[in-house]
């Protein structure tokens, strides 16, 4: 179990290719005979697959124009317009 703990702590970095190279063989070897750790790795893979699949962010039209106007008002010392809610307040 202690071995598994050591592997589990490095599994994320291993998966992300951010692990020290010298530590990789130890993880690889362990994964060959430990179904539990392999299962943990598969779980991370599933999460990461979902995360990487999430749709890219597209900026809706109008955002840049409204930001430009807000910046213009700020530069001119005018108060901001309140488009949506109270969250635009310029403290």
């Amino acid at each position: 179990m202690n071995l598994c703990r050591e592997v589990a702590e490095r599994l994320l970095a291993y998966r992300d290719g951010e692990l020290e190279e010298t530590e990789e063989p130890f993880i690889k070897e362990h994964l060959q005979y430990c179904p539990s750790c392999l299962d943990l790795l598969n779980g991370y893979d599933e999460v990461c697959d979902v995360l990487h699949r999430l749709q890219p962010v597209n900026m809706p039209s109008g955002v840049l124009e409204r930001c430009r106007e807000r910046l213009r008002r700020e530069a001119a010392g005018e108060p901001p317009l309140h488009d949506h809610g109270d969250s635009c307040s310029a403290e």
Binding site: C4, L12, G43, C48, P60, R68, G85
Partner: protein, 205 residues
């Protein structure tokens, strides 16, 4: 993963003082990060506007690296935190509820049977929604770790620096956040299996 490209640019700092240059050079990236950190388009736009105003106000005194993207990202993250606070949206997940570094009971059970999911792709939309919600429910530092690394491709070291964390501190947050998301997925499948079993039972009776 081609990480890090989003943090390198040869833009001079003067771009920070010119609203048009500021928007042209950094607008898209600010919005993207803001949107990942927010629940809605409207919130993302608020974060973006507030970030831009902060940049404009502080640009005069900016004495950082020639590439200000890290500085801009830090302001964006702060504004996103600020909006979460203003919305009084408490994280639905408490720090204590997040999995500890290594959960031996769960590890020993080894419950997941991912390869055996028959209609994984058919469920993709629902899964994505569930994960997106779960990311927003994470406490700030955990959400930031996942968004920066997994969604925006910022490498460990840079992400840690942006968040003002040690490399170890960053890894812990990413690790726990992913463990939590993995549990969310497990629960998703468990709920679904239960629902299917109920439907089957009703059909038979």
């Amino acid at each position: 993963m081609t990480a890090g490209a989003c943090l390198t640019s040869d833009a001079p700092n003067s771009a920070l003082l010119d609203p048009d240059l500021l928007l042209d050079r950094y607008g898209e990236r600010i919005y993207r990060l803001a949107r990942r950190m927010s629940n809605s388009d409207a919130d993302a736009e608020d974060v973006m506007q507030n970030t831009l105003i902060k940049i404009l106000r502080k640009a005069d005194s900016y004495r950082g690296e020639s590439d200000p993207m890290g500085w801009i990202y830090r302001i964006t993250l702060n504004e996103a935190r600020e909006l979460h606070r203003k919305r009084k949206r408490r994280p639905a997940v408490s720090l204590d509820a997040l999995p500890i570094d290594f959960d031996e009971t769960q590890h020993a059970v080894g419950v997941s049977d991912i390869a055996g999911r028959p209609d994984k792709s058919a469920m993709a939309g629902e899964i994505d929604d569930r994960i997106r919600d779960a990311i927003q429910e994470l406490p700030d530092g955990y959400r930031e770790a996942v968004v920066l690394y997994d969604l925006e491709g910022v490498p460990y070291a840079e992400a840690a620096q942006l968040m003002g964390l040690s490399l170890g501190g960053f890894k812990t947050r990413l690790h726990r956040a992913r463990l939590h998301l993995r549990n969310v997925l497990e629960r998703f499948w468990a709920d679904r299996d239960a629902a299917t079993a109920t439907t089957d039972g009703e059909a038979k009776s």
